[in-house]
Symmetry: C2
Subunit: 332 residues, 2 copies
């Protein structure tokens, strides 16, 4: 059983997933040769190579056979497991709990391709629907407090398989970075009686220098204090704490603008590895001051361990330059 352990100084929880352990001498940083379409377990026709599907968008066909356009399956090497009780206990001064949760993979298309970019905007929209469907389902499990949805694209961004996919991890705790955003936006709300994200959108729309794209429901901006080159935020114009509460037209416009942003990044930065993360409110909390959004971070510079340990970032590219560059990139 994996364990969740709490850092006694700063309160960050980590997952100790020793079932995934390697022998100490087995660590080696290398570019994994990702499965190509000859042996990819995510391609149509190889449904038997993944655990049975949890969700699929498919034509009238039998589960775990071809005929699907999108599948969600459990991660074959899950960081958390769904069975069991949380059992919070102490170990002397330390705190831990059982690693109860879920770890799922969203296979975004039956064809072997390496990014969301070659798909239609409609297919990207379906990925958003899948995120929402899974979140609504996992919300029913009262042991869970948060679902973290993310994508690792490319080996340098942590992907171990090439076929385009995203992941979700459902947790019995709220990740530290999300908790910080909730606390920070609450402080701003107390002080200003306005949402900090709404204020950001207003200022970015009026200034324009960090704007990358806009449609009727969303803006894409390069944040004022980005952690690294070409970090991008996709912000919904409508003030809403929970991603899963969005309207149908918002799902459509989210799919469209995310698709546009990823195509611009691909063209501008020569198909970079990247991560994206969806930040939304934890389950079963009323947070009038919070505002869900998506953060995209192309992986262009390698420095990492140092930033992990210090919370301190040096960024060689201004967000104004990054935004201007992406604004001017034409994609078809």
């Amino acid at each position: 059983m994996p364990e969740l352990r709490k850092d006694p100084v700063i309160g960050r929880w980590v997952i100790i997933a020793s079932e995934r352990s390697k022998r100490p001498t087995d660590f080696e940083i290398k570019d994994e040769a990702p499965a190509n379409n000859k042996n990819c377990p995510f391609c149509a026709g190889r449904e038997g190579q993944t655990p049975p599907e949890i969700l699929a968008y498919r034509h009238a066909t039998v589960p775990n056979t071809p005929g699907w356009t999108l599948r969600v399956v459990p991660n074959k090497f899950p960081a958390l497991q769904i069975e069991g009780n949380i059992d919070r206990v102490g170990e002397g001064m330390f705190d831990k709990m059982n690693g109860v949760g879920a770890h799922e993979v969203v296979i975004e298309t039956p064809e072997h391709c390496r990014n969301l970019t070659p798909l239609s905007s409609k297919s990207v929209e379906d990925v958003i629907w899948a995120y929402r469907d899974r979140m609504m389902d996992l919300k029913k499990d009262r042991r869970l407090r948060y679902v973290l949805i993310f994508k690792n694209k490319g080996a340098d961004a942590g992907a171990s398989l090439e076929h385009t996919h995203s992941q979700l991890i459902a947790l019995p705790i709220v990740p530290k970075r999300v908790a910080e955003e909730i606390m920070g936006s609450k402080e701003y709300y107390s002080f200003k009686e306005r949402c900090v994200f709404c204020d950001i959108i207003r200022q970015e729309l009026s200034e324009g220098r960090r704007m990358v794209a806009e449609n009727s429901d969303f803006v894409v901006v390069s944040p004022y204090a980005p952690k690294g080159p070409f970090e991008m935020y996709v912000l919904p114009k409508n003030h809403l704490a929970c991603f899963e509460d969005l309207q149908k037209h918002e799902v459509e416009n989210f799919g469209k603008i995310l698709h546009l942003l990823l195509r611009k990044l691909e063209k501008a930065l020569n198909d970079p590895p990247y991560n994206y993360l969806l930040h939304t409110a934890p389950f079963h909390q009323e947070l009038p001051h919070y505002h869900w959004h998506l953060e995209v971070m192309p992986k262009l510079v390698r420095v990492a361990g140092f930033e992990w340990g210090s919370g301190f970032y040096i960024n060689p590219t201004t967000p104004e330059d990054a935004a201007k560059f992406l604004r001017e990139i034409e994609v078809t």
Copy 2:
């Protein structure tokens, strides 16, 4: 002039160092071919290839000529600059200040070698003295609030030159992660009326499962909730907030135990890339609840952007396994 900018939601400051900027198309993740000893600017005899030295431990020789055992020079591509006023100002809702500070390089030996491990414990001790000397000097500059001392060893850990060296960045703000430790240890101190780090040392010494090494002044432990495989803390037994206040025998024992830890890691993990970071109290603050220490993180797994954005870590190696493995490694 570099700029410091503040994230309006979570309050993290970042350095926007656009003087170091590359064209957007110039980013490429690769293993830099580090300078070998044929053209290394840090080797004895090539003093003219670095900016003039700020500090050197040398025999009775002329500055910026051979005869030294350790040199400190300004970083040739500094993230911050020492001249100018801080000038905190707003940009609408956002906050920024001038990137005033210092960015220095500690060249740890005149010979071309890739790690601290082949040096004598006495040379490692001199590295500690150099950290302290620079910190005492920079403390006089009332614009500065923090000096972050760190080492990137190996290209995968962010080093751009092979010759063993560490760096320091002097800042007009306190890095977020340090601020979190100060706040967390203060809360613990309020609740327990004891130092959280002292309690950790007591529990680790009595349990033994996460202990790696010990001498009369220091312990090396694998922390209870490590961010990644083989993360290690070097903790002084003496409760002290400021690194620079340590006694001579502590400098000696710090050098000895750091040298031992690095040799164990090198042998156990096949000469891994790693980062270390010194966490100490900010300048000119009385923090009776804080306890300085060093954190070492071998870079064994690549996942990074995701952890950056979520504050959420999955670690496949228990600290008990890592500690046992390192305890049993014999080094000469």
